[in-house]
């Protein structure tokens, strides 16, 4: 029903919905899950890697985690090519702000300006919306650590814990149960990995299916660290989510 209203992105349906935006969100529902948790001393972002073929060149670049600026990074769910464009836009916007004001861009302003770009594609131009949702984690001196979730419509919200991508409803409800306001960064890492393991299809988690990144303060500067596969494996073993590799004699 109301199929006639689907093809134009910039038109409302009679029920007052924007179909293209909703279809974009459908596309994201097929992508790998990403979870973000805000803790009192940092932000934790975890992502499930969908493409895990042995043939894939594992270079240093990441599939789901990206650095936007020294103090802000993001996790992606959805169409990767759309994500790359938006990440580039976000990076340039952050640098332009720093050039003009000589200080790092506040996280909310960065999210807002990126969402304004996304919104533009739902209102004019006749182009389809971006099929990406983001989880932004960052720090600024006004509000400390923050986590924001944004979707193809250009809506964004600040969250204490959020999930995007496949099974995000299930992940979100699990997070609601287990999240405590004064959670530390270590506990947040464990919680994120536990929730992700329950929502993922595969039986056990291995470090090559995941990406974990943390944003925290170290010596007064914001650090963004993506865990290496080795440290990730050790972490998974210590939480008890993977069987330790059999000893090679």
């Amino acid at each position: 029903m109301s199929r006639r209203y689907d093809s134009r992105t910039t038109i409302f349906s009679p029920e007052g919905r924007l179909y293209q935006v909703e279809y974009a969100m459908e596309a994201i529902g097929n992508a790998g899950t990403a979870i973000g948790i805000l803790s009192n001393d940092g932000v934790v972002l975890v992502g499930e890697k969908k493409v895990t073929s042995k043939l894939l060149q594992t270079s240093t670049s990441t599939e789901k985690m990206y650095k936007i600026d020294d103090h802000v990074s993001c996790a992606v769910a959805g169409i990767m090519s759309d994500a790359n464009i938006l990440i580039n836009t976000a990076r340039v916007q952050a640098q332009r702000y720093t050039y003009a004001y000589q200080e790092p861009m506040p996280v909310e302003q960065l999210v807002q300006s990126l969402c304004d770009t996304k919104q533009g594609y739902t209102q004019f131009g006749g182009l389809r919306p971006f099929g990406v949702s983001f989880l932004f984690g960052g720090w600024d001196k006004n509000y400390g650590f923050q986590l924001y979730m944004s979707d193809p419509s250009g809506n964004y919200g600040g969250w204490k814990a959020a999930a995007i991508g496949a099974n995000n409803q299930a992940a979100q409800s699990m997070l609601k149960q287990d999240y405590k306001d004064d959670i530390t960064r270590e506990e947040a890492v464990q919680l994120a990995l536990k929730v992700l393991s329950k929502t993922m299809d595969s039986t056990s988690l291995t470090s090559d299916k995941l990406e974990l990144a943390e944003v925290f303060l170290s010596a007064g500067k914001v650090k963004y660290q993506v865990l290496s596969p080795e440290s990730l494996s050790k972490l998974l073993v210590s939480i008890g989510l993977t069987q330790p590799a059999a000893e090679v004699t």
Partner: protein, 202 residues
């Protein structure tokens, strides 16, 4: 216009290391208004740029370079090589060919395999690559003479520091628009040493 604020910059190549030094005076023609002005900026651990000439243009040019370099770092996930950076600076300066930045940059860095690289350029981007030393600023003529006399190839970090400091201090003494001490960075593959020199405080 190049002699409005006063400046002295020199960079020298040593054995697997380099040193870059500047004076610290900021003046408005004959009046000194600051004695701790920073002319040398760090782009990344193995790349430094010093900007001589008009102070406002130097600051703006530096901010533009930070903008470009940060985006490069995010996109390429690595630091810029000094040779690439020099080309970037040259291109930026030439963009303003008919309304230039009144700056003379001095670029010094460790490139592939930690090979030292220095270069300078004029205010519209003409690169001058040198193997031994480069100079810029109002004191450049005395600096040329001092460096030519004192420079030896393949100096170690400590000796390089002494040489560049002596060359800088003696040259700025002959130039009324630069002086008030010196700021020297000596960079080796493992560490960066920053030292402040006390000279004739005038």
């Amino acid at each position: 216009i190049f002699e409005y604020n006063g400046s002295a910059l020199v960079a020298m190549v040593g054995k697997n290391c380099f040193a870059i030094a500047s004076d610290r005076r900021l003046g408005v023609q004959l009046q000194t208004i600051a004695t701790d002005f920073q002319r040398i900026y760090k782009i990344h651990d193995k790349l430094f740029i010093g900007l001589a000439g008009l102070a406002t243009d130097a600051q703006t040019l530096y901010q533009k370079l930070v903008f470009r370099h940060k985006l490069y770092q995010l996109r390429e996930e690595r630091d810029m090589k000094p040779q690439t950076f020099a080309s970037l600076v040259s291109a930026l300066l030439y963009e303003k060919r008919f309304g230039p930045f009144f700056c003379q940059p001095v670029i010094a860095g460790l490139g592939d395999e930690d090979k030292p690289f220095i270069c300078t350029m004029d205010s519209i981007g003409a690169k001058e690559l040198a193997k031994d030393f480069v100079v810029a600023g109002t004191a450049s003529e005395s600096l040329y003479g001092a460096c030519e006399a004192m420079f030896k190839p393949d100096m170690e970090a400590e000796e390089l520091f002494e040489t560049i400091s002596q060359a800088l201090l003696s040259s700025v003494d002959r130039d009324c628009l630069s002086g008030w001490g010196g700021h020297v960075y000596v960079v080796t593959p493992t560490e960066v040493t920053e030292r402040i020199l006390k000279g004739r405080m005038d």
